[in-house]
Symmetry: C2
């Protein structure tokens, strides 16, 4: 098959936004513009949906300065989509690429997006259309295979660590039970990141529940009670995706329980996991001050909490994708490989090894108790959080002898 | 009455923690230690509760360096309390102050705390015990009388602005309806701060609901529909305390409605306002992508999002409290007064003017529509957010002509 015509390059962003997804976009655009064979860099609006609708913008006309500013801005600057293309959808994509004479296609996204790249790549080969298709990794879930970690995860992890650092201080000042629910349906990496907010031995989160371990409500209540007995307070981090031994999500289970208790056909709406867990703690353990937050969308798009390591790597995977595409002779997914403490290198890995697959936390990252992380995980995550992590300090306790109570 | 014996000074922190409450503590401790008549600076553990329990620490033994680090750490380093003392409780406080020979009492807190200072001050006068009692202002709600604003509010406001800046970008990438619920039972200042995250005319929050205006669910639905028609997306900021024209909180009203619909005795638990509002939008307007977050505790204790102006002023109200107490001859509440764009000065105001009272947003800060803020509010809030506010950038839209769709 002849070499693709690289005069037109197309870039799109898919799935949930991250704090650094635009770094990858900007890295790919600026690097593409350095190649003399590239004449036009197109961006598709709202991912694959924008491709089938032919909603393209010409990124060649962007100033370098504005691109740099967009790179520093969180969330997908080209817009995103939740469409998960099937074969027919991918054939539509391919038709549009052909019509516009696109010789190179970059898709920034998670495992679904890598699968789209895989199918489009296969369609092009089948049609003998010379196309280079490269997947650029991105997801706060950190659940892609092969790669050491995914751009977007470190910044979200930093947000979660800083949020729990604050939640712990708040809970120390006004003691009670606090439950924070973190994003992550199948992989617990982001929830586990809460452990990086701990400094002193009695700091929270005291309990961390990830989807990699079966969640048992009675066991959870016993854990909370034991922590309250020990510290007089308890901070809990829970993945939204925790499920019981039969793989039934706890959120669904507690909602069904509430329905049953009500002897009616109750529509609970968005009854959040945090609300249901705090309700169970209040009811079964009788503690007074029980609070819960579901961190929601803020954790992935908060402006002003970002890891500089994440920014740099997100930029580099975009740049490397272009180099792999224009200098190499095969399609693939850009993967990050750790080469030092801390340094990385980038490779182009086969799409088949990444596409549609999900990585979860390794056993060595989860403590034997199942409610904490190990030092191996701390060592894995800490360098990703970047420089300038905030730190929490305490007063030293020089007690003053009592006078009135001492007399009694 | 003779001059108080200033050899022992007592400091305590009350109510909800803020990002800068420890700046006030450290300001008061360091300034006290500069006065030769002060020999010991005590801190009470967990506010007034710690006073009646005689749980004191000797802050004189702290290193200046550790105090500085604690000052930069959010949440109350001495611990806090939700106790709202009545007369009897205040008499207990007074007894302990007498027993320990405390001549000067500083309480860092909101309107309840200022009321405690007022009663203790009165009790001391009645008992002819020479005591200087000064209230140091703090609350993220910004609802204290007399003062231009309250330390703690600017940092929380900055967090809310940055959260909505991100929520808007996220909602732009994946369009739909987004509802973010912000703290504030009676005053809408913090919710209104969401407007400071807007940059472009079509940015969200498109609708802002504060407790100062009656909330009507039908009107809300009409507002959301109009915004969706106009922008194809809608970001909403709502105070947790919004209530209808009869002052019934909307959260309670929607919960009761859900109960009624279920024809059962449903216990909704912590059914959050965000969940209920998104459910109403989904049901009545039929939009598909409707999301909601209740920002919860993260907004007041997040580590790593702080206004430098707020830090500086929180430090200064602590310092000034000590100066007013030791150089002056009356009790009071430290208040902030704007003297330039932007500069402030501090005064000691009568406790009676602040204690137990609640300030709400001035009419001039709320737009005629009731769902937006005015430029007067932007001008009021912007300098408080401090330096280094993040900024959001967009790609410029240089459209590429369609090929396939154009042919049709």
């Amino acid at each position: 098959m002849s070499k693709p015509d690289f005069s037109k390059v197309l870039i799109a962003q898919g799935g949930g936004p991250t704090a650094v997804i635009n770094q990858s976009l900007v890295g790919a655009v600026l690097e593409s513009r350095k190649f003399r064979e590239v004449h036009r860099v197109y961006g598709a609006f709202h991912g694959v949906r924008g491709i089938v609708d032919e909603e393209f913008v010409d990124l060649t006309q962007e100033t370098t300065h504005n691109l740099e500013m967009v790179g520093d801005t969180p969330s997908s600057a080209l817009g995103s989509t939740r469409d998960k293309p099937d074969l027919k959808y991918c054939q539509e994509i391919f038709k549009v690429l052909q019509a516009h004479g696109v010789g190179c296609f970059f898709y920034i996204g998670g495992n679904d997006s890598s699968d789209t790249v895989r199918i489009v790549s296969r369609e092009a080969r089948a049609a003998k259309y010379p196309l280079r298709a490269v997947h650029i990794p991105k997801t706060i879930d950190n659940d892609l295979m092969v790669t050491d970690h995914t751009p977007g995860f470190p910044s979200a992890a930093r947000w979660v660590a800083q949020a729990f650092m604050g939640a712990n201080l708040d809970n120390w000042a006004l003691p009670g039970v606090y439950v924070g629910v973190v994003m992550g349906r199948h992989a617990g990496f982001l929830t586990a990141a809460s452990a990086l907010g701990k400094k002193f031995p009695d700091d929270g989160p005291h309990l961390i529940y990830v989807p990699e371990r079966a969640f048992d409500t009675d066991r959870f209540l016993a854990d909370v009670k034991a922590t309250m007995d020990r510290h007089g307070r308890c901070v809990v981090a829970v993945s939204e995706g925790v499920a019981d031994a039969d793989h039934t999500p706890i959120a669904a289970k507690l909602a069904a329980q509430a329905e049953k208790d009500a002897h009616g056909n109750v529509h609970l709406g968005g009854g959040a996991l945090a609300d249901m867990l705090t309700e169970v703690v209040r009811e079964k353990l009788g503690f007074k001050r029980v609070r819960g937050d579901t961190f929601g969308y803020v954790q992935r798009s908060f402006v002003g909490c970002v890891s500089d390591v994440d920014q740099r790597e997100a930029r580099e995977v975009g740049e490397k994708a272009v180099q792999f595409a224009l200098w190499g002779d095969k399609d693939g997914s850009v993967t990050i490989h750790r080469t030092g403490f801390y340094s990385v290198d980038y490779q182009l890995s086969p799409l088949e090894a990444v596409a549609g697959k999900t990585k979860v936390m390794a056993d060595e990252f989860i403590s034997a108790s199942g409610t904490d992380v190990t030092d191996a995980f701390r060592l894995y995550l800490r360098p990703l959080l970047g420089s300038g992590m905030p730190d929490a300090y305490r007063l030293r306790l020089n007690r003053v002898p009592k006078i009135l109570k001492a007399r009694r």
